[in-house]
């Protein structure tokens, strides 16, 4: 009985920790602090930054980045694509699947595709 109960608790806990977050929530949690409530690069943290965060609503610059490059920079941080150290790697907080969803979220913010 006790074993079954423990198993159920462990199972419930593991399912809970693996639950996927929505891209909108992940954006709110991790991206808005620098990229801003509107996604236009004017987050609450930017005052003293030497490099301003990317404007995710700028179709021109965002269409110059492939989905693969966006995935890489979210996962591994700015320096992985020769950009700022101020953009940190988020792989410790996000799963690959969540990062893929975030890339698509960015595409809705810029209303653009790579090369368009």
């Amino acid at each position: 009985m006790l074993n079954k109960l423990l198993f159920t608790i462990v199972l419930a806990a593991s399912v809970q920790t693996q639950a996927k977050e929505t891209a909108a929530d992940n954006y709110r949690a991790y991206c808005v602090q620098c990229h801003g409530m509107e996604g236009n690069g004017t987050g609450v943290n930017i005052r003293d930054m030497s490099v301003v965060p990317r404007d995710h609503t700028d179709a021109k610059s965002m269409s110059g980045r492939s989905d693969e490059a966006l995935f890489k920079v979210i996962k591994e941080g700015g320096t992985s694509i020769s950009k700022s150290i101020l953009m940190p790697p988020w792989e410790g907080a996000l799963t690959d699947e969540e990062i893929k969803d975030l890339v698509q979220h960015l595409r809705t913010l810029c209303k653009c595709k790579f090369g368009s």
């Binding site: 977050e21 949690a29 602090q33 801003g36 987050g43 609450v44 930017i46 940190p88 988020w90 907080a93």
Partner: protein
């Protein structure tokens, strides 16, 4: 086994009206005092104050007792910054009208609560993995490492008017926090809070030592500046 449980219950009943029994319900209105940490962003967005269920692994007792008597905001944009910002002229701004102050407590209560909180230590395992090596760092080198090499200033203040505001201010960190906790949290924030919005920057052992030394230096400076 039953005898042990009985003994525990008797032991607890003997401490009626102790801090353990009277404070938790007050603190629990805004703090998670029993764990586990938030497992979803929805939970994390709703946090009103920092988790306290591992307070004994995190804080310096003397700082806790003093702060509870004279609380001062540590996170400029509140617990989840997203609940306390608004669009501004040049960038998003902190909406101070949404921030609540922490209640100030009489000395006796503050001292008792600090002592009680220090008993909450579920993460001794994480703390035991850290060892702070003796060493020094100059303020200039520490700041360069913090700002330019690690990029921590994006989210943290290293002085009252320099740095980001979505994370807790860090010029007081070493006065508030145990050095091993600072090291462990830098090493892996998600080990403490799965939904922390601090990134794991894969900082090396040496890099962690440098950051902790710098925070210790900042703490002394801010103490002297008081």
């Amino acid at each position: 086994m039953q005898k042990i449980i009985l003994a525990i219950l008797l032991g607890l009943s003997g401490t009626a009206f102790s801090a353990e029994e009277t404070f938790p319900k007050d603190c629990a209105a805004c703090h998670n005092i029993s764990g586990p940490a938030a497992q979803t962003l929805k939970e994390a967005f709703g946090k009103k104050g920092p988790d306290l269920f591992y307070a004994g692994n995190k804080y310096r007792q003397e700082w806790l007792a003093a702060w509870l008597q004279k609380p001062k905001r540590i996170r400029p944009a509140g617990m989840y910054y997203g609940n306390h910002i608004k669009p501004g002229a040049k960038s998003d701004e902190i909406d101070a009208s949404t921030l609540a102050e922490h209640v100030a407590l009489p000395k006796a209560d503050a001292t008792a609560i600090a002592a009680w909180l220090m008993k909450l230590k579920p993460h001794d395992d994480l703390i035991a993995k850290e060892k702070i090596e003796p060493g020094t760092i100059t303020k200039q080198m520490g700041e360069m490492n913090f700002d330019k090499f690690q990029g921590c200033m994006a989210c943290h203040l290293i002085e009252p008017e320099y740095g980001g505001v979505s994370g807790p201010e860090l010029y007081t960190a070493a006065r508030r926090l145990q050095p091993e906790y600072m090291a462990s949290y830098i090493r892996n924030p998600q080990a403490w809070e799965p939904k922390s919005w601090m990134p794991n920057k894969q900082v090396s052992d040496g890099g962690i030592q440098k950051l902790v030394r710098y925070l210790e230096l900042l703490g002394k400076d801010s103490e002297n500046a008081k």
